[in-house]
């Protein structure tokens, strides 16, 4: 059983900008359900791949009927791991994201690939695949269906969030043409409403 999701989309942004924006997506206006974001592991391998692990906590919004059946789940956020490999030589960024708690209720595994297109270098192809399953006896089907619906909604927000981050990066490089990277970061920070004292 379980539910499967697959989507493929092209965006007109250079892969280098997409992979830079990938790390700067949070917070954004569409990510109010993302409570915390942390890098817990990072390594550059000998063949120049960047491996990272991020830990997220997200709200656990469930439909009313699920809240009634699983009242204990309400109080606990969902912990999510996102592992990624950036391969600059092949212009690819591959991510694997899954929840490490609430897994019996529902497990969502998502694999995402951001690939710079060889034939159209200003475009990036985004391939997203997800598997949604539930281990709750007798309720797995409605839980999976709700999970798939929530996943679709979240991935639409994720795309908007990425586009928001890309737009910030592009604005920063237009405004700061010729200036230092430090200044670029400040403009990016401004759009994320960070404290003014942080600017030099």
């Amino acid at each position: 059983m379980g539910k499967h999701f697959f989507s493929e989309t092209d965006i007109k942004s250079v892969w280098e900008q997409v992979s830079t924006a990938f790390w700067q997506r949070y917070p954004n206006p569409y990510s109010t359900h993302v409570l915390t974001e942390d890098v817990v592991f990072r390594e550059v391998t000998s063949d120049n791949l960047l491996l990272s692990r991020r830990l997220f906590t997200k709200t656990n919004r469930m439909p009313r009927w699920a809240e009634r059946i699983f009242p204990g789940n309400l109080s606990r956020s969902v912990y999510i791991i996102e592992d990624s490999v950036v391969d600059p030589a092949n212009r690819s960024l591959t991510t694997m994201t899954w929840n490490i708690n609430h897994a019996t209720f529902m497990r969502v595994v998502e694999r995402c690939v951001f690939l710079g297109e060889r034939d159209r270098p200003v475009w990036t192809r985004i391939t997203r695949e997800a598997w949604i399953s539930s281990g709750v006896f007798g309720l797995s089907r409605p839980i999976q269906e709700f999970g798939l619906a929530r996943f679709r909604s979240n991935q639409a927000k994720a795309m908007k969030g990425l586009e928001h981050a890309l737009s910030n990066l592009q604005k920063a490089s237009t405004a700061c043409h010729g200036e230092s990277a430090e200044k670029h970061k400040h403009l990016n920070s401004a759009s994320k409403s960070q404290k003014p004292q942080q600017y030099i």
């Binding site: 409570l35 942390d38 960047l50 830990l55 899954w98």
Partner: protein
Amino acid sequence: MNSVGEGCTELKREYDQCFNRWFAEKFLKGDRSADPCSELFHKYHTCVQKAIKEKDIPIEGVEFMGPSREKPDS
């Protein structure tokens, strides 16, 4: 963006700023010189690991890209 460790957010911001600059200006351009962010990461990482333990977050021993090795539920 907040860190899972309430006291770690400032350290996170400093590390993120350093990383974002290094990623775009060095890593993507094939510059393999030494990572300028390792000290910042170490401070931030120590703080976050403490918070993870305190909150009992089950992240220990989870294999990198774990689910890619498992058969997806069908």
